[in-house]
Amino acid sequence: MATLAAGKRRPLLRVHNLKTYFFPDEGTVRAVDGASFEVCAGQTLGIVGESGCGKSVTARSILRIVEHPGGIVEGEIRYLHRTDGREVELDLAQISADGPEMRQIRGGEIAMIFQEPMTSFSPVHPIGSQIVEAIRLHSPLGKREARERAADLLRQVGISRAEARLNEYAYQLSGGLRQRAMIAMALSAEPRVLIADEPTTALDVTTQAQILDLLRQLQTDLGMAIILITHNLGVVAEMCDTVVVMYLGRVVEEGSVDAIFHNPKHPYTRLLLQSIPSLYSEARVPLPTISGAIPHPYNRPEGCPFHDRCPQFIPGTCDRHVPELQALDEEKSDQLVSCFLYHEPTDERA
C-alpha cells in the first residue's frame, strides 16, 4: 500500500487489509472488509462514515476487543510496541487477544475513549477508584500515589475540585465532565495512540468545542497519535491531518484533510460533503441527496458496495468487480480512492 504524505516518519500504527467479520446464526456480516490506513505520532487520523460502515469495529479490532461472534479473519495491524526501551513491530492481529503483550498495549500504549461516557463508567464505583485501577494496572504506583496521579489527570483535563470529584459517581457528573473524566482515564498510562470513538457526539456544541480543544492541547503536550472516529464532518475538518472515508466496511477514499474536503474524488465522499447543510450555504433550498439508504448488512450489493446509490454507476463494471484502494496518480500518491472512475478493474471476481 502506498504511504500517505506523513513525511518520512515511521508510522506508529499501520493497518493493512483488515477484515473483521461477524458470524451470527443468520449469516456473515462483513463489518470491516479490507481497511488500510496508518497513523504517525503527533498526527490525527479521522475515520468518517455513516452507521454500519465499520468505523467502530475497526477501532475495536485494533484493541482486540471485538465481541463474539466476531473476529479478525484477515489482515495486519502493525504496531511499534515499546518494550525495554526498544521498539518492536508487532502484528496485533496475530498475537493473543488476552496475552501479556496485548494486555500491556490495550489501555497502556493504545487507549480508547468511548462515545457514551455514561455507559462506559461503572455506575456503582466512584470515578476515582476506576481511574486508580487503570493507573495501577499499567504502572507500579502504590494506592496513594495512584490517587494523586488520578487527581493530577483530572486537573490536566480541566476538572476543578479534582480531589472531591474522585469520590463522585458517573451519574453526578454532567456530560462534558464525564467525557473529560473518560479522557483522563484514557490518558492515565500515557498512551502513544489514542482512539476516540465519537467522543463528542453526545455533547452540545459548546461542550464539544471544549473537548476538541482539550484533545488538541493534549496532543501537543504529549505527542500522541489520535484516531478520531466520527460521522461529523465538521469535527473532522477541524481536527484531522489525514482522513479515511469508509462505506460498508471498505475504505472508499483516503487522503489529506484538504484533499478530502476540497478535492474529493469518490462519488460517495463528494455526495456526503454536498449533502450537509453549512453555516455558509444558501438556506431553504433543496440539498443534494444520496438516493436510497445504507443497505442492510445481509443485503450487501455485489461489486462496489456503493454502486446501487451511485450517480456515476458504470453498468457491467461497478456491479461486477470490487474496486481496490489505489493511488490517484503515481506521482504524488497522497490521495487514494477505490472507484472504477479512476482505474480499471484488476480482479477477475464476478
Binding site: A209, G234, A237, A293
Partner: protein
C-alpha cells in the same frame, strides 16, 4: 401587546410562558424549590414560517414545545393559537374538550424514529390511528388517506401492511411525518427531527420538510441544537439559555450579526466542514447554569466575556433593539459581536468561488464587525 405579522395575526403567540417543575424532598415530599425549565418566554410564529428554538441540552427548548402542545401543563402564561384568522384559543387554559379539537391543528414530529413508532402496528394503523381517533370510521376511507399520506412523504403505499422494523431510520422518520400530517395540521412542532439520522439521510428529510411546507402551507416550530441544520431550515431563530430567550430575530441577522454574547459563542463553536476555515473559536468556560439555582442577574454572566457589574446584579430586559430583533442583554446596543461571516476563511478564494451570493453580505458585515474579530479567542 398584539403582534401583527405580514399575514395578519400570527398563528401562535406565546406570552410570558413559565413552566416550573417542583423539587420535592423528604418523607412528606415537601416542595423545596423549583426547576425553572421555562422562565418567562415570549415569542410568536407567523403563518407559513419556520421558527427554530435553539440552545444547549437542558435549556428548556423541548419543554417550551411540549407546553405549546399541552403535553405538559404550563405554570403560567398564555399560548394564543389562531387556527383561523378569526378564532383564538389560549392553549394554556383550554379544557380537555377544546384540546381534542385543537390538537388536530397542531402535531408533532419526534426525534427518535425508533422509539416513536409502535413496533406491533403496521403502517396502516400507525398512520391511520389519528384518523380513527378523530372520527374517520370507514376503513376504506382511512386506507385511501393513508395511501395518499405515504405517497406525500415519498413512501410506497404498498408498504402499509408492513411493520416499522422493516424500515430504515430515514423511512421511519417519513412514517412519523406522515402520521403528523394525517389530520391536515396548521402547526407542526418538530423536535430534533433529523438528529438521530445518518448524514446522507438527513438531507433527504430536510428536503422533505421544506417541500411539505411549500405544498401544504405548514407552519413549523423547529426545536434543534444543530445550528447548520437550523440555518438551513428557518426563517427566524430564537436562542434559549437556562429557560429564557436571549435572542430572537430573522435567520440572516442572527447568523451574521448576533447581538447576544451567548449567540456569538454558540455560532463560533460550530465546527465547519472545511479545513481551510479552521478558526480561533470562543470556547465558553464552565457549564450551563443549573435551572434550579440560577446565578444572579443575567444567567449567562458567569460565562460571558463581556460581563460587567450590572450583569451580575440586574436581570436584563427582553427588548426589541431593532425591528424584529429581540435581545435580553444589558450591553446589546454597544457590543460589536462576530457572526459566521466574520469567520473569514484562510483561503478567501475558495470561499468566494463556492458561494458568490454571500459576498455582498460578507463585505457589508465586515465593515462594522471588523474589530470584534480581533478579540475572539
Amino acid at each position: 401587546m398584539t403582534v401583527e405579522g405580514p399575514n395578519g395575526h400570527p398563528l401562535l403567540e406565546v406570552k410570558r410562558l413559565k413552566k416550573y417543575f417542583p423539587i420535592r424532598k423528604g418523607f412528606m415530599r415537601r416542595e423545596v424549590g423549583a426547576v425553572r425549565a421555562v422562565d418567562d418566554v415570549s415569542f410568536h410564529i407567523n403563518r407559513g414560517e419556520t421558527l427554530s428554538l435553539v440552545g444547549e441540552s437542558g435549556c428548556g427548548k423541548t419543554t417550551t414545545a411540549r407546553c405549546i402542545l399541552r403535553a405538559v401543563d404550563p405554570t403560567d402564561g398564555q399560548i394564543l393559537f389562531r387556527p383561523t384568522e378569526d378564532t383564538v384559543f389560549d392553549v394554556a387554559q383550554s379544557t380537555r374538550r377544546e384540546l381534542r379539537r385543537l390538537r388536530r391543528d397542531m402535531q408533532m414530529i419526534f426525534q427518535d424514529p425508533f422509539s416513536s413508532l409502535n413496533p406491533r402496528f403496521p403502517l396502516l394503523e400507525i398512520v391511520g390511528e389519528p384518523l380513527l381517533v378523530n372520527g374517520m370510521r370507514s376503513g376504506r376511507e382511512r386506507q385511501e388517506r393513508v395511501e395518499e399520506l405515504l405517497r406525500l412523504v415519498g413512501m410506497r403505499p404498498e408498504y402499509m401492511r408492513r411493520f416499522p422494523h422493516a424500515f430504515s431510520g430515514g423511512q421511519r422518520q417519513r412514517i412519523g411525518i406522515a402520521r403528523a400530517l394525517a389530520l391536515n395540521p396548521t402547526l407542526v412542532v418538530a423536535d430534533e427531527p433529523v438528529s438521530a439520522l445518518d448524514v446522507s439521510v438527513q438531507a433527504q428529510i430536510l428536503n422533505l420538510l421544506l417541500d411539505l411546507q411549500q405544498k401544504l402551507g405548514l407552519t413549523y416550530l423547529f426545536v434543534a441544537h444543530d445550528l447548520s441544520v437550523v440555518k438551513h431550515l428557518s426563517d427566524r431563530v430564537a436562542v434559549m439559555y437556562v429557560g429564557r430567550l436571549v435572542e430572537m430575530t430573522d435567520r440572516e441577522r442572527l447568523f451574521n450579526s448576533p447581538r447576544h454574547p451567548y449567540t456569538e459563542a454558540l455560532l463560533s463553536s460550530v465546527p465547519e466542514p472545511d479545513p481551510r476555515r479552521r478558526s480561533q473559536r470562543i470556547v465558553l468556560e464552565g457549564e450551563v447554569a443549573n435551572p434550579a439555582a440560577p446565578p444572579s442577574g443575567c444567567y449567562f454572566h458567569p460565562r460571558c466575556r463581556y460581563a460587567q457589574d450590572v450583569c451580575r446584579t440586574d436581570t436584563p430586559v427582553w427588548e426589541e433593539v431593532a425591528e424584529g430583533h429581540w435581545v435580553a442583554c444589558h450591553r446589546a446596543k454597544e457590543l460589536e459581536l462576530a457572526g459566521v461571516r466574520d469567520r473569514l476563511p484562510m483561503n478567501t478564494a475558495a470561499g468566494n468561488s463556492t458561494n458568490p451570493a454571500t459576498n455582498a453580505t460578507l463585505a457589508a458585515g465586515s465593515a462594522t464587525d471588523g474589530d470584534a474579530t480581533d478579540d475572539s479567542e
